[in-house]
């Protein structure tokens, strides 16, 4: 399985990368490459130019600014879970980043790449959605920040143009007890992706992210509202499930996914702080 021919540029800055993206047709951004390079080998994508942003130090910083923790999009999963500022403020993210793929994958694959892939079964995307992450998208003509949950299109994929680069993930620090969180997933073997995963943050008002429950990662707004309204766990779960359209993803039926989602929500909610 050989790579096709393509041109390669190691970007020296974000503006250089976005300018190249805007000016050269058929270009793609390369970060950790753990989705893109296998896709190239399998000829699922055929870019003429790869713009490598993986070594841009400006995209690998993890720091706190006021009430926000900023994670550079080219931070590798191991950078994320090793960062004190992540472990202190978002232990759920540190926990889940430390379980992505396997050690070799975590030493190379990036958090921005995971978002850009828009894999609906991504554990890390469910966690970021539950933590109300915003992403910053930069192009040659400007930059914008959006809630990550709003970037995932209902039909799958991510609402970004081919000229944009995800540069940063912005996480608002949570009021209250940051250790009040729950993450549960189900898969057949430890090397498989999740069939369904549920991530919930309970400090502040509750927020819930779901993986494997649709063509895109989704936030369970209906369930969150039920929690806010003081509903008991059964009703929170019923509200969450009722708001999910029929799921057509390979690997498991809609009914099976719903049953799994109910069980995972149960195990998280019954440990929820009062």
């Amino acid at each position: 399985m050989t790579l096709p021919m393509f041109a390669y540029v190691q970007a020296e800055s974000v503006p250089q990368a976005t300018t190249l993206l805007a000016d050269r047709g058929g270009a793609k951004v390369l970060a950790g490459g753990h989705a893109l390079l296998p896709a190239l080998k399998q000829r699922r994508v055929r870019p003429q130019l790869l713009i490598d942003i993986s070594q841009l130090s400006e995209l690998r910083q993890i720091r706190r600014e006021g009430d926000t923790v900023l994670i550079g999009a080219a931070s590798r999963h191991c950078d994320v879970y090793r960062a004190d500022v992540v472990r202190r403020n978002f232990p759920m993210l540190a926990h889940v980043a430390a379980t992505v793929g396997d050690p070799q994958v975590r030493h190379r694959a990036t958090i921005g790449g995971s978002i850009a892939q828009a894999d609906p079964t991504s554990d890390i995307a469910a966690v970021l959605v539950a933590l109300r992450a915003e992403i910053t998208l930069v192009s040659a003509t400007g930059s914008r920040s959006r809630q990550l949950a709003d970037c995932y299109l209902p039909e799958g994929g991510i609402d970004a143009t081919a000229q944009e680069i995800i540069t940063e993930i912005r996480l608002p620090t949570l009021p209250g007890d940051v250790s009040a969180w729950g993450f549960e997933k189900f898969r057949y073997r430890s090397i498989d992706p999740s069939i369904v995963a549920v991530a919930a943050a309970f400090s502040g008002s509750a927020s819930i992210g779901l993986a494997g429950m649709g063509p895109a990662t989704r936030r369970a707004y209906a369930g969150e509202q039920a929690i806010l309204a003081g509903a008991d766990n059964d009703n929170v779960i019923a509200a969450t499930i009722a708001a999910i359209p029929p799921v057509r993803l390979p690997g498991a039926s809609d009914a099976y996914r719903r049953a799994l989602c109910v069980e995972l929500l149960h195990s998280i909610l019954r440990r929820r702080p009062a």
Partner: protein
């Protein structure tokens, strides 16, 4: 991976799945395990890459290689270089290693022969001695 094997003749870097699944091509990239089938050679410019050939001086064996021999942690040997380098990286990381941590830390490396038990035993041997 192709560069390591074809250009530098470092054939200890094994070619197998070529899609980041099996771990046979694992090398150390600045001391951390990565699957070399999913790193472009040009991305290694300015970085240090260690293959199994560089694990010990010629004629010598790394303590982990000794442990693999002592524990009979291989049969056909095809996955072994990747296992060794993944384990070196694991042993260099923080935290105590128990059996579960070793199994979890080697989950990116597939072995079709041994059933893993002797590999895990060998890594635990070295973790306990603390010589890696």
């Amino acid at each position: 991976m192709e560069c390591l094997r074809d250009r530098f003749r470092l054939t200890g870097c094994r070619m197998a799945c070529e899609t980041t699944s099996c771990g046979a091509c694992t090398v150390l990239f600045d001391g951390e395990s990565v699957k070399s089938c999913t790193v472009l050679a040009v991305q290694a410019h300015g970085h240090e890459v260690t293959t199994v050939e560089g694990l010990a001086s010629p004629g010598q064996m790394h303590p982990l290689q000794e442990a693999f021999r002592r524990r009979h942690a291989l049969q056909c040997g095809y996955c072994t270089p990747g296992m060794l380098l993944a384990a070196v990286s694991l042993l260099a990381s923080d935290g105590p290693l128990d059996e579960a941590a070793v199994r979890n830390g080697l989950k990116g490396n597939l072995c079709r022969c041994t059933g893993y038990q002797n590999i895990v035993d060998a890594v635990l041997d070295v973790a306990e001695i603390g010589t890696a």
